[in-house]
């Protein structure tokens, strides 16, 4: 079956360092992959979208890479701040029957220590 895998263990880093989160997927070749941020008790907030023909995408302190050979996306936050502490979700469309269903990973919790 098709899966999205994100590291379930929380990532703890010191303020100012670069956080790197991983999203792996299996048995599928998505046309796009998206990253969202979710704070406790709140809805996900869209951050970045990367297409299958793009290797890298940047937005301010955020950078996403997409390796369709490894079936992996990396999400980087440079110069991290305590306010970046949240759960980060990757999402892509997974084929189910004749449809493509938007599917989220379980997310990785990032904790940035001052």
């Amino acid at each position: 079956s098709q899966k999205i895998e994100q590291n379930s263990e929380a990532l703890n880093i010191q303020e100012g360092k670069t956080a790197t989160l991983t999203c792996n997927y299996t048995n599928y070749s998505p046309a796009y992959l998206q990253w969202y941020r979710q704070d406790p008790g709140r809805g996900p907030v869209f951050l970045l979208l990367i297409r299958e023909n793009e290797k890298e995408k940047r937005k301010e302190r955020l950078k996403v890479t997409f390796d369709t050979t490894l079936k992996q996306s990396l999400f980087h936050i440079t110069a991290s701040q305590p306010a970046d502490s949240a759960t980060y979700l990757c999402a892509l469309d997974i084929k189910s029957g004749g449809s493509y269903i938007p599917t989220f990973g379980r997310g990785t919790s990032l904790i940035v220590h001052p």
Binding site: A31, Q38, R42, F46, R51, L92, Y100, I101, F104, R106
Partner: protein
């Protein structure tokens, strides 16, 4: 900045009762979605809606669920006979368009509402 709104923020109901969760998507958006998130688990897709009909639905979205756009602004999710396992956060989302890649399309940036916490007793 436009945002998706949802009401109520918290709904408590007895098992077997019907509930209606309400959402007002962003006004110029054309695609609408419902997701749920059981406490501590991942966000799960329920259904997408476009042009007054369901586009896709997941296995979770069985006959107990229905969606409706009763007027030009509201988008509702009805659960006919709630079960204990329906307790979750329910998120509504909307997007302006879909992305196209050859014969395959994908959901564009989705804007999520704050959610309705449904508790079934």
């Amino acid at each position: 900045e436009p945002e998706v709104t949802q009401t109520p923020s918290h709904q408590v109901t007895q098992m077997g009762q019907e509930v209606i969760l309400r959402c007002v998507p962003i006004s110029n958006h054309l695609y609408f979605y419902w997701y749920r998130q059981i406490l501590g688990q991942k966000v799960e897709f329920l259904v997408s809606f476009y042009n007054n009909e369901i586009s896709e639905k997941s296995e979770i979205f069985d006959d107990q669920f229905s969606v409706e756009r009763p007027d030009g602004s509201n988008f509702t999710l009805k659960i006919r006979s709630t079960k204990l396992e329906d307790s979750a956060m329910y998120f509504c989302a909307s997007s302006e368009s879909r992305l196209l890649s050859g014969v395959r399309s994908s959901y564009n940036e989705q804007f999520f509402g704050p959610g309705t916490r449904l508790t079934v007793l």
